[in-house]
């Protein structure tokens, strides 16, 4: 029974991704000024939201770990944050590829891009921090405390960078800002849902790996200490 329920999420994810592809590439209307490349938004924007959700879950799991010292929460925290880094990477790369034909440059230090980059750096730091602590209990505590600081910092970083950029010249962001076509909106929401399901699916796999790693680590200690 267990093996069957394990397949529910991957199958659902695959189905939703195929549907999302169809909606984004075929069903959604082509944007007038930007052309087809605008369709990348259906993956770019949801990736960012999913990443923020993943980091939020990671922080809450970290707090739960601090309160209970139950390693299942630590496993959930690291899994969620790592997947968050993956989604942020997708967001950065797709944003960059979109910027090239529209703005003519791969990168501009605009508020959203810069905040996403800072976010990415913080959580890459989180992953590196985890790798440089050997003792599992200490690692959990250190990582959880850092993730709380990082997540609390996110809105402050975004606000400050936005103020910073309003004082400096920047390229125009959206030609269609404010008036998003309802059909486009629908596709965007569906893609967001698909990305969230993909997140859950990845989380399921990643947690299993982390569980395995935890077991191996415990046994390794046992063998080497005896």
């Amino acid at each position: 029974m267990k093996s069957r329920s394990e397949w529910v999420l991957p199958v659902l994810t695959a189905a939703m991704l195929v549907a999302a592809l169809y909606l984004a590439f075929v069903w959604a209307p082509t944007e007038k000024t930007m052309g087809h490349v605008q369709r990348i938004f259906y993956f770019h924007v949801p990736s960012f939201f999913t990443a923020v959700v993943a980091f939020l879950v990671g922080m809450v799991a970290g707090i739960r770990f601090l309160m209970s010292r139950d390693f299942r929460f630590d496993e959930l925290a690291v899994s969620s944050n790592e997947i968050g880094v993956i989604f942020t990477s997708v967001n950065l790369v797709t944003g960059s590829v979109w910027a090239k034909p529209i703005w003519g440059v791969w990168w501009t230090w605009d508020a959203r891009l810069t905040s996403a980059f800072v976010l990415w750096l913080m959580y890459v730091g989180y992953l590196i921090l985890r790798r440089s602590v050997d003792e599992p209990g200490l690692r959990g505590v250190v990582a959880a405390v850092f993730s709380i600081f990082a997540f609390v910092d996110v809105p402050i970083v975004y606000m400050s960078i936005r103020w910073w950029r309003t004082q400096h010249p920047q390229p125009v962001m959206f030609s269609t800002e404010g008036t998003l076509d309802p059909q486009m909106c629908l596709v965007l929401y569906f893609c967001l849902l698909a990305m969230l399901v993909l997140y859950l699916c990845l989380l399921q796999i990643r947690r299993r790996v982390e569980r395995l790693r935890h077991e191996t680590e415990g046994l390794r200690r046992l063998v080497h200490s005896a």
Binding site: M34, G35, H36, V37, Q38, R39, I40, F43, H44, S47, I86, S89, V90, V93, T94, V97, W98, K100, P101, L198, L202, I205, R206, R208, V209, L212, R213, E215, T216, L219, R220, L222, V223, A226
Partner: protein
Amino acid sequence: MEETLKWLWIGFSCAWVIHLLYVVSLGRRAKKLRDELESLKAMVEERRGK
């Protein structure tokens, strides 16, 4: 139109290549851990036998 389609294609494939690589890396990590777990269990068994 053709030009923007090309960029869409590039961005789209980059996104899915990242996800794909991540899943593959997870699989490899799991395999490595499973192997190590096996060998560790064998070592524990061996010690118990002695």
